[in-house]
């Protein structure tokens, strides 16, 4: 087992391990808010459930990016390369792993607040849902930049 391969394995672990933090906490926050909203307004639990699930699915996207980078590192990254490439692969893991924390937390927060808002005024479901989705998409931008840098480090450098 050579250098590059060892670094790649480490990097894949870092990418997924750190990348799971943000989405995990964020989605948990959304679930907690959904429970709170349901206990306040049990009549609209189906609307709350729908918004929670979609909000969580969007909040999970940075976690999915981390998984993609980890899988690419495991299966598609070069096995034999110089030290510069090895360090680039390590950098890709750090880039995606650390970069996924913020958007995961932020999007989960937005999902939680969206669910809370629907529990408070269920008739405004459409508006709340739309604002939530756009806000989540914009707060995901930094996670996308992390993904772009990670892909560049894997395939281009």
């Amino acid at each position: 087992m050579n250098w590059t391969e060892i670094v790649t394995l480490l990097s894949a672990g870092i990418a997924m391990g750190l990348g799971a933090i943000g989405s995990g906490i964020g989605e948990g926050f959304a679930a907690g808010k959904a429970v709170e909203a349901t206990s306040r307004q049990p009549g609209v639990s189906d609307k709350i459930m729908k918004t929670m699930l979609i909000g969580q699915a969007v909040a999970e996207s940075t976690g999915i990016y981390s998984l993609v980078v980890a899988l690419l590192l495991l299966f598609a990254a070069p096995k034999e390369a110089g030290i510069v490439k090895a360090m680039a692969l390590l950098g890709a893991g750090f880039s995606m792993g650390l970069g996924a924390i913020g958007p995961g937390l932020g999007e989960g927060y937005a999902a939680g607040k969206g669910v809370e808002g629907i529990g408070r005024s269920p008739h405004e479901e459409g508006n709340i849902f739309r604002v939530m989705l756009i806000g989540q998409a914009v707060s995901e931008s930094t996670g996308i930049y992390s993904l772009v840098v990670a892909l560049l480090l894997i395939f281009v450098v």
Partner: protein, 232 residues
């Protein structure tokens, strides 16, 4: 296992130009366009004053989109409705066509989302200039203080970079996950039966669900960017 992340390209020389293109993406894009055409020609056949069930369903969807565009863009919303609806339908069909075996999503290739984002970019800034006048529109980049001009420009470009990389990242990510699951599970006969359960689930989640969400997000963000530039 090196085929992931590699796009099949073909190239030819036309005089001094060296032209590179992706045949798979091109073919799939035409298939998607044909699918959209066939679907909507079929849906709009035999239109009547009193709509039948099929026509009523399409009219309901159209009215929903009309309302959505009017609410977001405001004045002259009908001018933007065809563009917005086309973007939504094209992205949606592109994302969904990938669940058919041997078909590839055109959106999996970075060039397709990039092309769409370039269209939205030009429409956004053209609308901004048309509705506010050239001088007022350029001035808006120097607000609230002139010092922030570089930051505003970077933010403006970043909006579109994240717009097309969001679509690409989600669709490409889904296809990488599906590809890894298939390659690993098909490698031995006693794990391949897991695919009977896992395959439809993966296709349903990453193809249908993520595809729908991303098509909606792409459309909503394009519309919001246009509205922000137009109505400032």
């Amino acid at each position: 296992m090196h085929e992931v992340g590699v796009v099949q390209t073909a190239s030819f020389d036309l005089g001094p130009l060296h032209i590179v293109f992706n045949p798979v993406t091109l073919i799939m894009t035409w298939i998607v366009i044909a699918l959209i055409l066939i679907t909507f020609v079929w849906l709009s056949r035999k239109m009547r004053q009193v709509p039948g069930r099929r026509q009523a369903a399409v009219e309901m969807v159209m009215e929903m989109f009309d309302g959505l565009v009017k609410e977001t863009i405001g004045k002259d919303s009908r001018r933007y409705l065809p563009l917005i609806l086309t973007i939504f339908l094209f992205v949606l069909f592109s994302n969904w066509v990938g669940i058919v075996p041997f078909m590839q999503e055109p959106t999996k290739d970075l060039n397709t989302p990039l092309g769409l984002a370039v269209i939205v970019f030009f429409v956004t800034h053209f609308s901004g200039i048309k509705y506010n006048g050239l001088f007022r529109y350029i001035k808006s980049f120097f607000e609230p203080i002139p010092f922030l001009f570089p930051l505003n420009v970077v933010g403006e470009i970043g909006k579109f970079v994240s717009l097309f990389f969001r679509l690409f990242g989600n669709i490409f990510g889904g296809s990488v996950i599906i590809w890894v699951a298939y390659t690993m599970l098909m490698s031995s006969w006693w794990t391949s039966w897991i695919l009977v359960v896992l395959g439809p689930f993966l296709a349903g989640f990453f193809g249908l669900f993520v595809g729908l969400i991303q098509a909606f997000v792409f459309m909503m963000l394009s519309m919001t960017y246009i509205a922000v530039a137009k109505n400032q």
